[in-house]
């Protein structure tokens, strides 16, 4: 089971998403702007579960004049378009995730190094459906998060150091 999604950026996939967003914007009668293009181009080239601040930092490298408001607004549009999902892991801030090839997945969050792993298991999905059925409940969506720690302490510590370095730099 691949716990971590592919780290490589698939440029053609990014282009596809940019096109899909452009179409969404047009369909809604909204306008294409330099800032929105910068923001989505940046976002779709980032990995994993991106916070607004992380995204803004990257965006500012391309255009320092872009501010929080526009990033927030563009992220809302991305969510509305269905290309991106908003997630909250209880640290109080929203994180955004571009839909990867894997349609749906759950998360394991290491409380040591902060890494967020993704996984998917059909038996788990099926079991949830069954339980909902038994309770006369219809599931629209769900969220499952396993909080804990990597057993590979060495790799975990290394990730932790790397992230600490990033935060300083």
């Amino acid at each position: 089971m691949p716990v971590k999604p592919n780290k490589q950026i698939d440029e053609s996939l990014v282009k596809e998403k940019e096109a899909a967003f452009a179409e969404f914007i047009q369909r809604k009668g909204l306008k294409t702007t330099r800032q929105r293009n910068t923001i989505i181009a940046t976002f779709f080239r980032m990995h994993g579960h991106v916070s607004v601040e992380e995204l803004l930092n990257e965006v500012k490298k391309a255009n320092p004049r872009i501010g929080y408001a526009t990033v927030y607004r563009t992220l809302h549009l991305l969510v509305e378009s269905g290309l991106v999902e908003e997630r909250r892991f209880g640290d109080g801030l929203a994180r955004y995730e571009g839909h990867s090839d894997v349609e749906h997945h759950d998360h394991m969050i290491c409380l040591e190094c902060g890494e967020i792993f993704e996984f998917y298991n059909p038996r788990l999905e099926a079991l949830q459906e069954k339980l909902a059925e038994e309770n006369d409940f219809q599931i629209y969506r769900h969220r499952l998060e396993l909080y804990g720690a990597c057993k590979d302490k060495e790799a975990c510590a290394q990730r932790k150091r790397r992230k600490a370095d990033q935060a300083v730099g």
Copy 2:
């Protein structure tokens, strides 16, 4: 499977918890106060997933001079004591849940009427453990939330009305 926990308040259980909290306070060298007593007595006699505002409203009936700050502070102590758990269901506010007889459970949240159902299934727990094991990950805790809708539309609509009434009253 009982989807809703017992609605009855077990007074002896409440007393037990009050005693446990008193012991925690003492052990930490803190002081017993009228306000804290009021707050925990109120909390442990409420059902389900209580927001700070809901709790404060109840508390004010016993002592209108108690404010947000004290409620927040007391809830933090309750969490620290291990008698209460904090949960967040994505609507931006924290909810607090006294540990019930059921040690652990997951949630189904109806997006129509807002009702939060509890459930527990050992196979689900076991499967999660197995998946974590396969990924060299150790689970400390987890959270599973099924968002959807009650299939019993009548009961659902009734709950919705009742809650709307409460909000006004």
